[in-house]
Amino acid sequence: MAEAVGTWLGAFLTLCIFSFLYRDNPFFRFAESLFAGISLGYYIGIVSNNTLGPNLFQPLFTDFSGRAHLLIPMLLGLNLYTRYLPKIAWLSRISLAVYIAYYVGINMVQKLQGEVVPQVGQTIMNPIGGTYTPIDNLIIIVGVLAVLVYFYFSIEHKGVMGPVSRLGIWFLMLGFGAAFGYTVMGRVSLLIGRMNYLFLETVNATVAVF
């Protein structure tokens, strides 16, 4: 029974969201505000259950002295709330600075090691050979170079730079168009899933009750 009620509720909320396609209306506003509230509540539960509980409170409660180092992130976390105390509001920036700095450092090496090096490495190829034809390989090489030239900021795109960066834009547009067309199928699949839910699953759930 709870299953069927759940399915019908879900179907109702789905229709509320779809009604936005026609125009904004109280049903959509209801679903939207409920969604905002529920989702935030969901993350309160999940973050407590998956992070704060097992990684902070449980270790601290079971073995405080052995895990006292966990007080560091706890203090940094609590420190975010100094924002509400005007006199020491600036302290909250320390937590932000530490958090940002750590990930900025990670990003810097990851981008260079994980993206620039392999992507450049894969482009250094003998055009004759590999899985593609020589013409395909040349197109890839020329495309990569042209796009890189397009992103060159400190020279005006005149002379040789002009046509090459134009070619870069063409490659970008070709790639964007293709990716757009390619994505249609995945998005329609999502809608098919919802239509199934609305038309078939609600019926099945109801039948199952009786």
Binding site: A2, G45, G53, I139, G143, G168
Partner: protein
């Protein structure tokens, strides 16, 4: 004033160097395993505390909305109700209070109220919102794909060919020529594999360099907008 500016910037510099330096070292070096095992965990905890910061702001904003009877205030009630009910079940389950001995499923495998709400309310809302994309991608294509200039034409033709090639329609176009039914699907795959790869690679290399340069500016304290501190050279 000195500390308000210098301390965050000094911390940024030193903390930022930690992952860069340890990246190249092995755990044989003192402190590396500490960084790898613990610091990441610390950051997740800090982020966990931040969520409450957001919750406080949402509650404040919506309570104010109700108090002042601003337009749409009844919807603030449904928001707060959803937040309160779901959040309470979530907290009770997360800390295993009373009968709430599990968040998504109880120890005997049965569903919890938190899970029921997730499945009946949260997941359908997510999926419904996500699926609106099917409508939007259609209307965006109709409106934006016009042959205004060379760039727009390339964009449109590429999208059109790929859309055609991905369905049985693509097989029918040249299907009357012997062997022709594979032409468009093959061409579609070629577009994805060759020119599209080139464009993506170019963007990724450029963006990664840009990201690295921004990272360096942050670590050096040149870029500091995120701290609310005005940059100066």
């Amino acid at each position: 004033m000195f500390w308000k500016l210098r301390l965050p910037l000094a911390l940024t510099f030193f903390v930022g160097l930690v992952p860069i330096v340890t990246f190249f070292l092995t755990e044989r070096v003192f402190g590396v395993s500490f960084v790898r095992d613990r610091v990441e965990q610390y950051m997740v905890i800090i982020a966990g505390f931040a969520l409450l910061l957001g919750v406080v702001n949402v509650v404040q904003g919506n309570v104010r909305k109700i108090e002042r009877r601003r337009p749409g205030w009844p919807f603030a009630i449904s928001l707060l109700t959803g937040l309160f009910v779901m959040g309470t079940f979530g907290l009770l389950s997360a800390f295993r209070v009373g009968p709430f001995q599990g968040i998504l499923s109880a120890p005997d495998g049965s569903d919890t109220p938190f899970y029921w709400m997730t499945r009946s309310l949260f997941n359908p809302l997510q999926a419904a919102m996500f699926s609106l994309l099917a409508f939007y991608i259609a209307s965006a294509a109709f409106r934006a794909f016009r042959v205004r200039n060379i760039e727009a034409s390339i964009l449109m033709v590429a999208a059109f060919v790929v859309m055609l090639g991905r369905t049985p329609l693509g097989e029918y176009v040249f299907g009357w020529i012997p062997g022709g039914h594979r032409w468009l699907p093959t061409f579609t795959e070629w577009i994805m594999a060759v020119p599209n790869t080139a464009a993506q690679r170019g963007i990724i290399i450029g963006a990664a360099l840009g990201a690295a340069a921004l990272s360096l500016r942050v670590i050096l304290g040149i870029e500091r907008s995120h701290l609310g501190v005005k940059g100066k050279s």
